[in-house]
Structure formats: structure tokens, C-alpha cells
């Protein structure tokens, strides 16, 4: 994770420098805000990667001589084909259209979204129980 952490860290430093330079030179509040907030993106990502590197050391994918055995075991949860993304996205769309057309669109949208999200969660937990 060393390179990943560096990448994010460098981006955070870059935005701090660019933001301060912009502050001194231009003094436009909108630009200063977005640049400094952008530095948070790098800061959060970089420090997270740095902490995990300190904690777990090099992973098999960071080691040039690693063999395929390095990743043996379960890599992650790649679930079965799932129907729930569809209602989640449809619900979100209707919810976003709510301000345009009114509650009769927003309420079904919110319900669909809640249904999809809960069932998706259920799917994950069911899988965990099987684990």
C-alpha cells in the first residue's frame, strides 16, 4: 500500500500548495474552497492507506516475487447475480424526480429504494450466515 498511500498523500500536498498559491494570488473564495476540500480527499485516502500499511505490511500484490499462493483463500464476497440493484436505482430515480412532479412520484420512489436496500442487505447477511 506504500505507493497508494504516497499517491494520495502527494495529491493532498498538491492541493494544499495550489490552494495556498491561489489564495495569495487570486483570493477568490470559491476556488480556494474547492482546492482545499480537494486536499481532504487525498488526506483521508492517504492516511487510511498509510494506517493499513502500518498494520498489515506488504500484501502479496505489493511483493514483486509473490506467487499465486500469496492470495490463497477467500479474496472477497462476489455475490450471486442480484435483482436488487434495479429497484434501488429505479427508486433513486423516482425520488430525484420528486421535486419536479410531486409526492406521488417521490413516495413510491422512496419505498422502492428502501425495499431494494433492505433486501440487498438481507442478501449479504444470508450469504454471511452460509459462509
Amino acid at each position: 500500500m506504500r505507493i497508494e498511500a504516497t499517491l494520495w498523500g502527494v495529491s493532498a500536498c498538491f492541493y494544499v500548495v495550489a490552494g495556498i498559491a491561489y489564495w495569495v494570488l487570486a483570493g477568490d473564495p470559491a476556488g480556494i474552497t474547492v482546492l482545499l476540500v480537494a486536499s481532504l480527499f487525498g488526506g483521508v485516502g492517504g492516511s487510511y492507506a498509510w494506517v493499513w500499511r502500518r498494520r498489515v505490511g506488504d500484501r502479496a500484490q505489493d511483493v514483486p516475487e509473490a506467487t499465486m499462493l500469496g492470495n490463497a483463500g477467500e479474496v472477497g464476497y462476489f455475490p450471486a447475480s442480484s435483482v436488487w440493484p434495479l429497484p434501488i436505482a429505479a427508486g433513486l430515480t423516482l425520488l430525484a424526480l420528486g421535486p419536479l412532479f410531486g409526492l406521488w412520484v417521490a413516495v413510491p420512489g422512496a419505498s422502492l429504494l428502501a425495499l431494494g436496500a433492505l433486501r440487498l442487505l438481507d442478501e449479504s447477511m444470508h450469504k454471511a450466515a452460509r459462509g
Partner: protein, 599 residues
């Protein structure tokens, strides 16, 4: 909730190998979480959007071919160019990059899938529904959005454009923006967390690097656009005053926020396509990519600088600090120049062959060079003052965002079609396609530089017959017809590969990266086996593993000894007991030590 089963865990069904993507037919596509299928869905949808955007541009060119108005009135013309820009930028260029990312990133880094497969599908549905919402503006009684693709208030505000088309535009792009953010998270997580053992960061294909940095830019830029759009929506629907001068708001704030998204966006639609040609050029030059680390560092520099140049789109507002943005803009030419140097270096002294993917990659280089040069011209505020909002800018942006994307998209389609389908696209038709497109594209857009210098303003649907740029407009429209004509061989090649397939093996090009190791099309979890990754060209190393000093595999590589023990190099993510017992995993032929033949 009673849905959780009460049975003891031992009785639950064992994990089945066909657990994912099992549903047959259309249901399988609607419920899939397989990154390859989602990639194909993204690709087909974004190409459909490109077709819609192209039809809209045909309306523009037909209208501008002759002076006066013939086909559409001014109001419709405004809707048409707005939707042309919107569809091409938000619904074609970015999503096609995500199609490439979805399909190729897990294959290239050796992952079984994207990090969050179901989130991936949510992203796709949001992109589709957002796109449909944007397009549904054409059905509204007041017409679609007509304020240009960057929607400057107060024209895009409640008083400027009261129709619902503008609201649909905002809501639709909120949804596609959310979809883009989620996809970027997904790709970045996949690259950081799911690389195969030995696939260190500096062994990843350049395309993966470019997509990773694209995701960085998406994550920095898209939320700014989304919040600005929410503010504008609040202005339009709920009487907020963010951008309304009479209520104390600042229209210029929108321009800052929009272009803080808008300029990274230019590179969001450029970097993945840089990556595509960087994968293609070395393969057909029969050389490794030249200056790997230089390319990576140049990409990082471009990604960083691109977020610090936004106000060069606002030079003519008179409200920005010119030197800061002129300097940062001119600086971008340096890493871009390094990239060009490396692309040429990759070809230099190589054994060049020119099948369609390579032709399109070279076409990309020429197009992007022309667009980049006019970009350097426009980075000077002095010149920009007189050129801004003329057709010179239209020509510039169609070279950097239009031509490069289109050439790289076709390069990608010709190059990876055998991987996705197991079939080849006809090469002769591909050459016809390429040459017609080159001629058509440059006929259309090269003369636009001249009509811009002669003062033709952008976004105006009409001009006088005595205008100095009347002839240029006719030439442009003829060129647009040629572009349309160039699609005939392409569609023919697609139909031919469907009706009379020319089946090829897993690696018809003799390419370098990991995706060519697996079958075409790849199996459920992407890899049945995987070679050791010892350089940025694992497929090349494996092909020439017996040639001393060619591949990066040393004779004492521990992986070689391990190859005899079948079970130990089962793929790390697809332990299937039946295969384990049968012992039929691994590359198609005997282990390398006994038999030097190519698998």
C-alpha cells in the same frame, strides 16, 4: 422479518460453481453483477447514446450547411446543440471509459470481479435512468434544455429557462453524476485492493494507471458538479437565490463550480483513451512501452494540474486572476508532451504493423496533437479574448474531446473485440472505416478553425449568405456526411462478425497484458489459471518463457517448480472441488519444464 432461514448452517446449500450469472436470457442480463456483462451493457448503452448525439449533430450540420434557417427554428436549434453536447460529454464519452474500465480493469489486474459487484450494477442502472431522464426533455411541451451543456445561470435559472426541460436535464445529470462517483469508487477500490499477487503498482498496464487517476479526478470533480446542480435545482424549484443576482446570488459562482468540474472532465474523457492507445501502440510496434514510469508520472501530473486550471474557461468574464490560470494551463502541455514523446518512442525502431486498432491509435495521435496545439494557443488570455466563443474553440474542443475519443473508442473496439466475443472484426472493412473517418473528421473540423478566425460565433443557428465563412460551413457539412458514411463499413463489420464469425484464439494479436492469458470470452471468474506476474507484460513473459533473456521469468523462478503441483496454482478465487479432484486446472498443455511449446 422471517426471511432468515431457521435451518442449521450445515444444511444450507453448498456454494455452487454456477452461483452467479445463472439466469438465462434477458433476465440474466437484467440481474447480472458480472463486471464483464456490466461492461458490455455500459458499452452498448454509451454507443447508443453516441448514435443519438451524432444524429443531433447531423441536424446542426444540415442547418448550418446553407445560410438562413431551413430545418429547425432557433429555439429547436438551441435544444439540439445543448443536447448534442450533453449526450456526447456526459452520456457517451465518460460512460464508454467506464465500459472499458468495467470490462478490462479486473482482467488486467487479475481480479475475479470488481470490488463491489452489486454497486456496479446500481451504477449502470443510474446511468441508464439518468440518461433517459435527460433525453425525456424532448417530450416536454416546452422542449428539452436549451442553455448549452454548461448551463450558465441566469440563463439556466428559473427566469431564463422556465420549462421543465431544464429541470429534467439537472435531475438526469445528478443521477449520472452519482453513477459516475460510484463507478469511480468501485474501480479505484478494485485497483488498490484486488490486484493479483505480484501485480505491483508499477507493473499495472498503463490503461489501469490512467483509469485509476481518472477515478481520482472523478472523485474530486463530480461531487462539485453534483452540489452545484443541486444548488441550481434549488434556485429553480424552491426559490433559493444561489445564482440569482437580484437575490444577492452570484452567477459567476456557478461558472467557478461548473468549470472546477468541467476542466477535469476534459481529462476524465481523455486519460482513459490515452490509456487505450498506450496499450495498443506497443503491441503493434513489437516493443515494450517506452518510458513506463515517465508515462505514469506524466499522467499523475496531468491529473493534478487539470484540477487547477478551471478558470481558463472564464478568461473573458474579466473576473479571474489570469496569470495563475494561463501558467497552469500552459504547464499541462509539458506532461502531455512527455506522453507524446513516449508514444513515439514506443514506435521508434519497432517492427510496426498496421491492423485497424493501430491505425486508429495513430489517428488518435494526429487528432490529439492538432487539438493540443490549438489548446496552447487558447491558453494565452490575449489570444483567448478574441477567439473565445468562436468556431475556433468549437474546432479545438472537437479535436481534443471529439476526435480523440472517437478514434480511441474505435481502436478499443477493434482491439478488444476478439477478447469480448472470441471473433475478429474484418480488417479490410476496418481500414475503409478508418480512412473514411480520418477524411470526414478533418474535413468537418479543420475548416472550423478558419471560420472561427473569420468570426463565426458558436451556438448560432444562422448566418448571412455574404458571411466570409459560408463556404467553410458547406465544407464542414459535407465532412459530416463523410463521417456518417464511414460508419457503414463499421456496421457491416459488426454484422459480419455476428453472421459469419471469424473465430480466433485467446490472443490473436500476440498482446502483452494479463487479459490475453484467459479465454475469449473470459470465464465466469475471469481466470482458470494465471501465469506468474514478473513484469508489466505477463502474457509476453509467459509466451517466451523458454527464450533466455526475453521474458522476465528466470529459470530459477519458484513458480516454475510449483507448476508441477497442480493444486497449488489453482486460481486463488475459484476453488471448485470437482476440478480439484479431476486435477484438470492449469494451462492447456503440460508444464513448461517438460515441453517448450506455446500453450
Amino acid at each position: 422479518m422471517t426471511t432468515a432461514p431457521e435451518r442449521p448452517i450445515a444444511e444450507l446449500p453448498p456454494e455452487r460453481p454456477e452461483a452467479r450469472g445463472t439466469n438465462p436470457g434477458i433476465v440474466g442480463w437484467l440481474t447480472t453483477t458480472d463486471h464483464k456483462r456490466i461492461g458490455i451493457l455500459y458499452g452498448v448503452t454509451s454507443l447508443t447514446m453516441a448514435f443519438i448525439g451524432f444524429l443531433l449533430s447531423m441536424v446542426i450540420r444540415a442547418e448550418l450547411a446553407r445560410p438562413d434557417t431551413q430545418i429547425v427554428d432557433y429555439d429547436t436549434y438551441n435544444q439540439v446543440f445543448t443536447m448534442h453536447g450533453t449526450v456526447m460529454v456526459y452520456l457517451f464519452a465518460v460512460p464508454f471509459a467506464f465500459a472499458v474500465g468495467n470490462y478490462l480493469v479486473p482482467l488486467m489486474v487479475g481480479a475475479p470481479d470488481m470490488a463491489f459487484p452489486r454497486l456496479n450494477m446500481v451504477s449502470y442502472w443510474l446511468y441508464l435512468s439518468g440518461g433517459l431522464v435527460v433525453l425525456s426533455g424532448f417530450l416536454a411541451n416546452t422542449g428539452a434544455a436549451d442553455f448549452g451543456w454548461f448551463a450558465y445561470p441566469p440563463y439556466a435559472g428559473q427566469t431564463g429557462s422556465p420549462g421543465i426541460g431544464g429541470d429534467l436535464w439537472l435531475v438526469g445529470l445528478l443521477l449520472t453524476g452519482a453513477s459516475g462517483i460510484l463507478t469511480a469508487l468501485n474501480i479505484a477500490t478494485t485497483v488498490v485492493m484486488l490486484r493479483a499477487p505480484g501485480m505491483t503498482m508499477f507493473r499495472m498496464p498503463i490503461l489501469v494507471w490512467d483509469l485509476l487517476l481518472t477515478c481520482f479526478m472523478v472523485l474530486i470533480a463530480f461531487p462539485v458538479l453534483t452540489s452545484a446542480q443541486l444548488m441550481l435545482l434549488a434556485d429553480r424549484r424552491f426559490g433559493a437565490q444561489f445564482f440569482v443576482p437580484s437575490g444577492g446570488g452570484l452567477p459567476i459562482l456557478w461558472q467557478h463550480l461548473f468549470w472546477f468540474f468541467g476542466h477535469p472532465e476534459v481529462y476524465i474523457v481523455a486519460l482513459p483513451y490515452f490509456g487505450i492507445v498506450t496499450e495498443i501502440i506497443p503491441v503493434f510496434s513489437r516493443r515494450p512501452v517506452f518510458g513506463y514510469k515517465g508515462l505514469v508520472l506524466a499522467t499523475i501530473a496531468i491529473a493534478g494540474l487539470s484540477t487547477a486550471v478551471w478558470a481558463h474557461h472564464m478568461f473573458v468574464t474579466g473576473d479571474v486572476y489570469l496569470p495563475y490560470f494561463a501558467v497552469t494551463t500552459a504547464l499541462i502541455a509539458v506532461p502531455t508532451g512527455i506522453k507524446f514523446f513516449d508514444w513515439i518512442g514506443s514506435m521508434w525502431g519497432g517492427k510496426l504493423v498496421f491492423p485497424p486498432p493501430m491505425l486508429f491509435a495513430v489517428g488518435f495521435l494526429v487528432t490529439f496533437l492538432l487539438g493540443g496545439l490549438t489548446g496552447v494557443i487558447l491558453s494565452s488570455p490575449t489570444l483567448d479574448f478574441s477567439l473565445s466563443d468562436t468556431y475556433f474553440v468549437v474546432a479545438h474542443l472537437h479535436y481534443v474531446m471529439g476526435g480523440t475519443v472517437v478514434f480511441a473508442v474505435f481502436a478499443a473496439i477493434y482491439f478488444w473485440w476478439p477478447k469480448v466475443t472470441g471473433r475478429m472484426l474484418d480488417q479490410r472493412l476496418g481500414r475503409w472505416h478508418f480512412w473514411l473517418l480520418v477524411i470526414g473528421f478533418n474535413t468537418t473540423f479543420l475548416v472550423m478553425h478558419r471560420s472561427g478566425l473569420e468570426g463565426m460565433p458558436r451556438r448560432v443557428g444562422d448566418y448571412q449568405a455574404s458571411a466570409p465563412y459560408a463556404a467553410e460551413n458547406l465544407i464542414s457539412s459535407i465532412g459530416a456526411g463523410l463521417i456518417a458514411l464511414s460508419m457503414i463499413p463499421f456496421v457491416w463489420a459488426l454484422l459480419r462478425s455476428w453472421r459469419r464469425p471469424d473465430r480466433v484464439g485467446d490472443d490473436p494479436w500476440g498482446a502483452y497484458t494479463l487479459e490475453w492469458i484467459t479465454t475469449s470470452p473470459p470465464p465466469e471468474h475471469n481466470f482458470d489459471w494465471m501465469p506468474p506476474i514478473r513484469s508489466e507484460r505477463p502474457a509476453f513473459d509467459w509466451r517466451y518463457r523458454e527464450e533466455e533473456g526475453v521474458g522476465a521469468l528466470g529459470p530459477e523462478d519458484p513458480w516454475r517448480r510449483r507448476a508441477r503441483h497442480d493444486a497449488s496454482w489453482r486460481p486463488f478465487h475459484a476453488w471448485v472441488e470437482s476440478d480439484e479432484r479431476a486435477g484438470d486446472s492449469g494451462p492447456p498443455k503440460a508444464p513448461p519444464d517438460e515441453d517448450g511449446s506455446d500453450p
